[in-house]
Symmetry: C2
Subunit: 291 residues, 2 copies
């Protein structure tokens, strides 16, 4: 089976390609003039914004599933970024959905975020930031395509992720650096809870969902991937210190919470059925720190 992945050159994408390549023929969609490297067994389609060209590629290569990981992530946007946020997070996905009309594509896995649900104990949409709003906007564009075809469209909502090869400035990467340099680290008070998953569990979530779709299981429109346990930032620092055997020089309260900081991640998402995180946070950090 042929699968087309967007965001295939990113953190999750590169891990996912490795995991899926044994079983599937992987194609990735990249923007034109992107500087990137992928394994030679991956086929590359450079998207020039010509939707008919993409349609033809999808037909000719018998693509049956799409995994849409590409995203422009901005925690706190500037006015100048809005157009790019909308083009990346709303337009690109819509263009792909248009391109797969009347093709053999059976399913589309979309990547969402817990930040679409800022109110932890409420089921309904409430964006933490404009990035999350753009994710929701794409889902509403997608509704037109699912209403007018038999396409199966499922959004997998992710919270925090970490792992090897992550070039984003995320928590565990910052801890790892700070433990080595012994530099003091200014952090907020650290009472916010995180739902954080090691990359292997994220990948197993995607592959599990592919299997459910391939088995034609009845599914909801969206699921969340949840960690075995949630910890607050202070607890995570403690676990990191224990696993690494290194002391972090953290100044708790040395900086304010972010605007609209999520103190408690969304609690009302439906977990992906039949899937569970295999790694505890300790185990994930162990793997993360192993050279």
């Amino acid at each position: 089976m042929n699968i087309l992945i967007t965001g295939g050159t990113g953190f999750i994408g590169t891990h996912l390609i490795k995991a899926l390549s044994n079983q599937y023929k992987i194609h990735i969609l990249v923007p034109q003039n992107l500087d990137f490297t992928v394994p030679e067994y991956v086929s590359v389609f450079e998207f020039s914004e010509n939707i008919r060209e993409l349609h033809q590629y999808i037909n000719e290569n018998q693509i049956e599933g799409i995994i849409h990981l590409a995203t422009l992530y901005v925690a706190q946007h500037q006015a100048e970024q809005i157009k790019d946020i909308i083009l990346s997070n709303v337009y690109l996905g819509t263009a792909i959905l248009e391109s797969i009309k009347n093709t053999q594509v059976k399913w589309f896995i979309n990547t969402g975020t817990y930040w679409q649900n800022f109110k932890s104990d409420n089921k309904v949409y409430c964006p933490a930031n404009l990035y999350a709003a753009s994710k929701q906007a794409f889902i509403d564009m997608a509704a037109f395509y699912t209403e007018t075809s038999s396409l199966r469209f499922v959004t997998l909502k992710l919270s925090d992720t970490f792992g090897k090869g992550d070039t984003r400035r995320k928590l565990l990467t910052i801890f790892k650096e700070a433990a080595d340099t012994k530099e003091p680290l200014l952090m907020s008070k650290g009472e916010q809870y995180l739902d954080i998953l090691y990359i292997e569990d994220i990948i197993s979530g995607f592959t599990h969902l592919i299997n459910l779709l391939e088995q034609d299981k009845e599914l909801l429109n969206e699921y969340v991937l949840v960690a075995q346990q949630r910890y607050n930032l202070k607890e995570i620092a403690g676990i990191f210190e224990k696993v690494s055997g290194k002391k972090l020089q953290i100044v708790w309260g040395g900086r304010p919470y972010r605007e609209r900081e999520i103190m408690c991640p969304w609690q009302k998402g439906t977990p992906l059925p039949g899937w569970k995180a295999k790694l505890s946070l300790e185990d994930g950090i162990k793997k993360f720190l192993t050279p």
Copy 2:
């Protein structure tokens, strides 16, 4: 009070400016290099996509309310139109919402469509076409701004409209031409119901909503404007013939229904409180035909 209107050069916009100008100072936002005429008492801001420039204009001109009418309407889209649909119907409104952050703007009236609710007897979103989906996507983007400010944001959902000065190829305009030319008119079977309002009633809906907002009334996020009575296409043709005294040469069933034709307009919208359509369809057509 200063009000900024987008789409001020369109059918509804030109009528609305006339109606509001007695009471308010009207500003319109237009794209750069647009060829247009507006009365000299209207102030014009040419939007170059520089959000900070717009922010400054809004501050300096003490804008207190926004009426967002600008839209790219496409009943059945082509792949090549998707980017423009998203830029016009999602990005422009988002840019304006960004520009009014930390200004004196108190309210934002957004224009929606019955087509966001293809399933007539269901309250929830279900787009009839991609145009309607883009309208919903903008509402998702707007949620971020209403969540993070005290801005009041209300969507007024419109169904069909008609009136003088309408350059769109809409039903009553087509009837009027066909009655004069006596050319045969190929129509569908004509059993679809329409909720159609004369422009004066549309305008009174907007002015009524402005008054409710200015009186700080508690309001829902969206309302519909509903006609006194719904008629199917055949009945509307009959009313037109009666009022005009002219016979239409309609070939009923001479063309198929549109894909996803709305046979019965949305029935679950909440009517704007305290407002009612003043004109029957007969009265609207009479006014429409009066030179």
